[in-house]
Structure formats: structure tokens, C-alpha cells
């Protein structure tokens, strides 16, 4: 009972006005308008309006092909939209190059992990840091200029690796890590520059379920730190456990949003995405009974 009350008070703070797809937020960190992207005849993304609440954990869910990763790509500059503008912390970011978007504090991870296999785990982490004078061509020749910063970066990297339980592998090439470990590395690396908004594309895919729990604690820790988190996931238990807000996309549009409990009871969402058997033991049903019930 008390839990529900605090949850409600909690959600009061997020939306401004009625809760509906594309609704305004009390304190948005990112506001996007009229974002569209078409590939040939196919409309991948058609978002009229969306606002991401600051300092909260927002989950972006929806079936494959709904446009979630495309939306990520558009917002972070990795893809050019047909139309659209979005405002991040007072800056217009439409048309800005992806590396600049990252520098201004919006960092993302990729669905198909991009842990750099030819570098060691520690080097991967060091690469994630910002403002390293050694990365400038001429200053690179003069070691004293960047040695101190490099040491600082290495320490930060080692601390993060320890949190993600990758410290034992720090000298290994990233290629020697398993798929799930590479995902963790990519997440840890994204945190190196202390971003304002972290966009995680399926961060838990391929990660051992027992490890998932501790990672969720890390993501919650990010929120305590003041970082805003937006993540795409298919694991509904995870979504239910840590997200403050859920946005549902389907066929390029936002079809529902709200607190996780409400969204997951939405019949349209259940039909298209969650499935009616989330809590049913699949050993007891067959595909025929499922087809009949539709």
C-alpha cells in the first residue's frame, strides 16, 4: 500500500498534464519534434513529439522493426532524419555530427556491440575518456603533456571495470571476451566521460541473468548520480524493476507511454508486444492453444 503511494507520488513528478503518447514532462532533458525517417517506401520513424524526463530511467520498448534503434541513431547523429528537430539541454542537435553529440553529453551504446577487439579492455576504456591532450596529433609526441591525465584516466577506467567485474580481464584483448562481457565493456566505456544522458541499446542482451541484477543496481546508481538513462530492452522483468517511465513504439510511432505498471497492462501493448503468456509456464501450453486464443 505504502509502496503504491510512493510510486504514485513518484509518477506525479514525471508527466506534466495528462499521460498520453508524446506527453510533456515536468523536467525534460531532451525534447524532440516531428522526427521522421523513411527508407525507400518504408517509414522507420514517425515521432510527432517526445520528451525524455531528466534524471529518470526511461525504457523504450516495442517489437522488432518498431524504429527504436533508428530513433537512437537519429537523436545521436548517426543517421540523418528526413525531418525533425530536437533540443538537448538547450542545444539544437539536429544535423550535429555524432562525435559532437557525444561530447555534449549524450552517449550511446550499440545493439551489435562495438567493443574494439584489437584493443585491450583497458585501452577500450581509456578511449572512452574525454579531454586527453595525448589525443591531439602534435601533443601526442610530448609525453609529459599527457602522462598525468592518462594516469587519471587509467585509474577511473580500473574503478569502472571493477564495478562491472571485468577487472581481471583488463589486459586481455577485447576479442577474447564473450559476447555478454563485451556488452558490459561497452557500457562501462560509455560511462567514462560521465555523460548527462546515457542511451543503452539492449544492454542486457546476452548477459547472464544472475549478473543482470547487479548491473541493474549500477544503472540505478547512475540515476542517483544524476545521470538520465534511456534504454531499449526486451526483458520485461528488468523494465519493471528499474524504469520510472516506459515509452512504447510500434511501426515508427509512439503508441503508449507511462509508468511501467500501467503500460504493461495496456491491452494493445500486450497483444503486439508482451504476449499474454508472460507469467505462464510455456511447458504447459502449445502453439495451437496460443493460436486459438487469438
Amino acid at each position: 500500500m505504502a509502496k503504491k503511494a510512493t510510486a504514485e507520488a513518484h509518477l506525479e513528478a514525471i508527466a506534466k498534464g495528462a499521460i498520453e503518447p508524446g506527453c510533456a514532462k515536468v523536467d525534460p532533458i531532451l525534447v524532440a519534434d516531428n522526427v521522421t525517417r523513411t527508407f525507400g517506401g518504408l517509414t522507420a520513424v514517425n515521432v510527432a513529439h517526445v520528451e525524455i524526463p531528466r534524471g529518470k530511467i526511461t525504457a523504450l520498448i516495442g517489437p522488432n522493426g518498431a524504429g527504436k534503434t533508428t530513433l537512437f541513431n537519429l537523436l545521436t547523429g548517426f543517421d540523418k532524419p528526413n525531418t525533425g528537430s530536437w533540443n538537448f539541454e538547450g542545444r539544437q542537435l539536429a544535423g550535429v555530427a555524432p562525435h559532437k553529440v557525444a561530447r555534449w553529453g549524450m552517449v550511446r551504446t550499440f545493439q551489435l556491440t562495438k567493443a574494439l577487439s584489437l584493443l585491450t579492455v583497458l585501452d577500450n576504456m581509456r578511449l572512452g575518456a574525454q579531454d586527453n591532450p595525448g589525443e591531439g596529433f602534435f601533443r601526442a609526441f610530448v609525453k609529459p603533456v599527457w602522462a598525468a591525465k592518462e594516469k587519471e584516466i587509467t585509474e577511473r577506467a580500473e574503478a569502472l571495470l571493477k564495478r562491472f567485474k571485468l577487472d581481471a580481464k583488463s589486459e586481455d584483448y577485447a576479442a577474447a571476451l564473450s559476447g555478454g562481457q563485451r556488452k558490459l565493456l561497452e557500457m562501462a566505456r560509455a560511462l567514462m566521460r560521465d555523460p548527462k544522458l546515457v542511451m543503452l541499446d539492449e544492454p542486457m542482451a546476452g548477459v547472464n541473468p544472475a549478473l543482470t541484477q547487479s548491473l541493474l543496481e549500477h544503472i540505478k546508481g547512475l540515476k542517483e548520480h544524476g545521470t538520465t538513462v534511456l534504454f531499449v530492452e526486451h526483458d520485461m522483468h528488468m523494465v519493471r524493476h528499474i524504469s520510472d517511465w516506459v515509452i512504447v513504439m510500434a511501426e515508427g510511432k509512439i503508441v503508449a507511454e507511462g509508468p511501467p505498471g500501467d503500460v504493461m497492462k495496456n491491452q494493445a501493448v500486450i497483444d503486439a508486444y508482451l504476449g499474454a503468456h508472460a507469467d505462464v509456464d510455456l511447458g504447459t501450453v502449445s502453439i495451437d492453444t496460443v493460436r486459438e486464443s487469438k
Binding site: 562525435h99 584489437l118 578511449l127 595525448g134 589525443e135 609526441f141
Partner: protein, 263 residues
């Protein structure tokens, strides 16, 4: 002399910049094709009679090494190193050349071990990953293209100073492919690789010439004439390159592990 030296380097840098702007977006193989084509274009341009006043047209320039050899501190005479006998001019050129190689190798080593080098390694594998970490990939690629051009220019300068002639016909595509073979032989993405690779390769080239010529002269290869030896040599080079790529793509010093991750 210093003026022309500096101008040569500057030209290389500018050319790399100009070439890089439209082409760095291209995939590696297309970039290679475009750079070869650009070199060919220059080759023809400098060979035309239009520029003859500056470049000497297709005959090129000669006897321009005066100032360079004036700097030579080595006393006049012949120096014997085993079976080779060199004049003081030849020794000077070699000293300067290897000195430059050493300097470049040290600079490259420092660079690759630096954060800049690390970023480049990342770009080699996945540009988008590096962009997502806030680095301007285009700038890094441009810097390495210019650096490569400048080092190439240094090599070219010493090369022409040693022979004191510079004709466009020297720089045909054969030369480019031999440079590639050297790179592969030594191991791409290594520092010692190109150094050792070029030494071994040209030694191999000279040896085959000498050995084959010798064999023809003593009648051991009745089906070959001296003139054909020159061409057979290149046949062997081609064969060697193929075998290298098949059996040891990482060359002498390349990292087998790195090759495996790529494959």
C-alpha cells in the same frame, strides 16, 4: 636546398589534404584505387610539356644535388664495406637516409603508443564506435594521410638525391606495387615491418637479377636470355607476393592474432 626540401614536404602535405577531403569517406579499397589514380594523374601532369620549364617534361630533372652534397662531412675517397665499394657521396646519402628512417621510426613509435595512436587503432576497426566516444574521426584520418604523404615525400627526396635524376617514368605503378609488397612483407601496422621488409625485398630483387644473370651466363638456363631475366624477375616478385598473402599475410612482424580477429 632547404627551400626545395621544405617545399617538397609542403607539397606532399597539401596534396594529401586535398586528396583526403573528398576521399576519406570511401571504403579502404576505393581509397586505394583513388590514391593510385591521383598519383598517375600527377605523373602525367608533370610529364607534359606544359610544365617543362619547372619539371623538365618527360626527361625530368638532373644534377640537382649540388647543395645536398655540399653538406657532406665525409672526406673524399672510396670506402669498402665487405664486397661493396662506395664513394663518399654514396655513403653520405645512405647515412642521411638511414638517419631519417631512424628518426621516422622513433617518431612513429612514440605516436602509436600515445593516446592518438590508440584512437587510430580504434578507427581502424570501427569508426562509429570511436565517434560515439566523442572523437572526430575525419580529423584523425586526415592527419594520418598527411603523415603518410610526408614520410613518402621524405623517401622520395632522398631517393632522387641519391640518383640525381628525377624522371616521371620512375614513378610508374610498378613502383607503387613494390611499395605495397614491401609493406605486406614486413607486416602492416608495425614499425619495423616496412623497414625490414624493404631491405629484404630489394635485396631479393637484386639477388634474383644477379643469380639469374649468372646462371644464364654459364649456360645453365638455355631457354632464357639476359633481357628476359629482367622480366622474369618481376614474375617472381608477383609469385612471391601471392604466396605471401596466402601463407603469411601478417608478414614478418605482423600480429597473427590481429589477422585472425579480422578474419
Amino acid at each position: 636546398m632547404w627551400g626545395s626540401f621544405g617545399f617538397g614536404i609542403l607539397c606532399a602535405a597539401v596534396f594529401a589534404l586535398v586528396l583526403g577531403i573528398p576521399t576519406l569517406r570511401l571504403r579502404a579499397d576505393y581509397l586505394a584505387i583513388v590514391t593510385i589514380a591521383a598519383a598517375q594523374a600527377l605523373y602525367y601532369a608533370f610529364g607534359t610539356s606544359q610544365f617543362a620549364a619547372v619539371t623538365g617534361g618527360s626527361n625530368g630533372l638532373s644534377e640537382f644535388g649540388g647543395d645536398f652534397y655540399a653538406l657532406n662531412p665525409i672526406p673524399k675517397g672510396r670506402y669498402n664495406l665487405g664486397i661493396i665499394s662506395l664513394s663518399e657521396k654514396e655513403v653520405w646519402v645512405r647515412v642521411v637516409a638511414w638517419g631519417l628512417v631512424l628518426i621516422c621510426a622513433i617518431l612513429m613509435y612514440v605516436l602509436t603508443k600515445s593516446p592518438w595512436g590508440r584512437t587510430l587503432k580504434g578507427i581502424r576497426e570501427d569508426e562509429d564506435a570511436v565517434r560515439s566516444l566523442g572523437k572526430n574521426v575525419f580529423v584523425y584520418k586526415m592527419q594520418s594521410l598527411v603523415l603518410g604523404g610526408v614520410i613518402g615525400a621524405l623517401g622520395g627526396i632522398v631517393f632522387t638525391l641519391s640518383s640525381q635524376t628525377n624522371q616521371p617514368s620512375t614513378w610508374v605503378s610498378n613502383f607503387t606495387f613494390m611499395t605495397w609488397t614491401v609493406l605486406l612483407l614486413g607486416g602492416a601496422a608495425t614499425i619495423l615491418g616496412p623497414v625490414v621488409g624493404s631491405a629484404v625485398f630489394f635485396m631479393f630483387l637484386m639477388l634474383t637479377q644477379t643469380v639469374l644473370e649468372g646462371l644464364v651466363n654459364i649456360g645453365a638456363l638455355p631457354f632464357l636470355s639476359i633481357a628476359q631475366v629482367g622480366q622474369i624477375r618481376y614474375l617472381l616478385v608477383g609469385l612471391f607476393l601471392m604466396l605471401l598473402v596466402i601463407f603469411r599475410p601478417q608478414g614478418f612482424f605482423g600480429n597473427k592474432k590481429e589477422m585472425q580477429f579480422n578474419g
